[in-house]
């Protein structure tokens, strides 16, 4: 899996507004290779878990129809500046990626 997940977490009142961009092809398994005419195998992130200071706040299951280079935005109440957001993602090949950011 290509390197890279970018996370930005900003505080609005006591709510953390988290935005993440993951670098992933998100291949659906429905497209055909133009040269060989064969289906390109599915390759997509199917599990995402986000934590705030180690506590799970969001658990997601994804299908192949989340757009390429997925964007994920969510909000967590009761957060403070400096709190740590960590996001872990796994794809259907078992490849892992993660990112972290302090809330500003």
């Amino acid at each position: 899996m290509a390197e890279g997940m970018k996370i930005r977490a900003t505080l609005q009142g006591d709510v953390a507004d988290v935005k993440a961009l993951m670098n992933h092809i998100m291949e659906t398994g429905l497209r055909k290779d133009a040269n060989t005419g064969k289906l390109i195998p599915a390759h997509f992130i199917n599990h995402v878990v986000a934590t705030l200071n180690g506590k799970t706040v969001l658990e997601a299951q994804w299908g192949a129809a989340v757009a390429k280079n997925p964007f994920l935005g969510f909000r967590v109440k009761g957060a403070k500046a400096g709190d740590k957001i960590v996001i872990n993602a796994v794809d259907n090949h078992g490849e892992k990626m993660s990112g972290e950011s302090a809330i500003v």
Binding site: M26, N46, A65, V66, K68, F74, R75
Partner: protein, 157 residues
């Protein structure tokens, strides 16, 4: 005392049997047992109704407290921004479906420890379709839909 009992109980039955018994006894909800497992049945379903069945949310009630922010017309079906806000108190999860996609279930999000009933993402749409959202709150399921027209070719004609 309770722990001691539980240990004896666990020892006295096979692992699989224990889980089945625990489910039957209402000690474990099936959702908890399968929490870590990708819901293949729901994601492989070819109709929204079947996908909803796979997620145990068939028969969700219409709600005006679910806001779906998505473009009326999407020029590029490969990247359609969708933002869902649930104003239903006690929202624990949000599911997104596209009726006309080959596999309608796009994603499922579960919230805990202060996460609000809100999610923003970008999805793929094969053609003009209803985007359906199901929200789970307090053990009940609610739903709302919004139509998104997809212009293939991207000229916006």
């Amino acid at each position: 005392m309770m722990n001691q009992l539980r240990r004896t109980f666990l020892r006295s039955t096979g692992a699989a049997g224990t889980v089945a018994v625990a489910i039957a006894a209402g000690l474990l909800r099936p959702g908890q047992v399968l929490a870590a497992e990708w819901n293949k049945v729901a994601f492989d379903a070819t109709t929204t109704a079947d996908a909803m069945k796979g997620l145990n949310v068939a028969g969700a009630a219409e709600s005006k407290d679910i806001l779906i922010k998505a473009p009326d017309i999407a020029e590029n079906g490969a990247v359609v921004p969708v933002e869902v806000t649930s104003k239903i108190p006690g929202t624990t999860s949000i599911m997104i479906f596209v009726d006309k996609n080959q596999n309608p279930l796009i994603a499922e999000f579960e919230f805990s420890n202060g996460a609000e009933g809100f999610v923003s993402t970008r999805i793929k749409m094969a053609s003009t379709s209803h985007v359906k959202v199901v929200v789970k709150a307090g053990g009940k399921a609610y739903t709302a839909t919004k139509e998104v027209k997809v212009t293939i070719g991207g000229c916006g004609g």
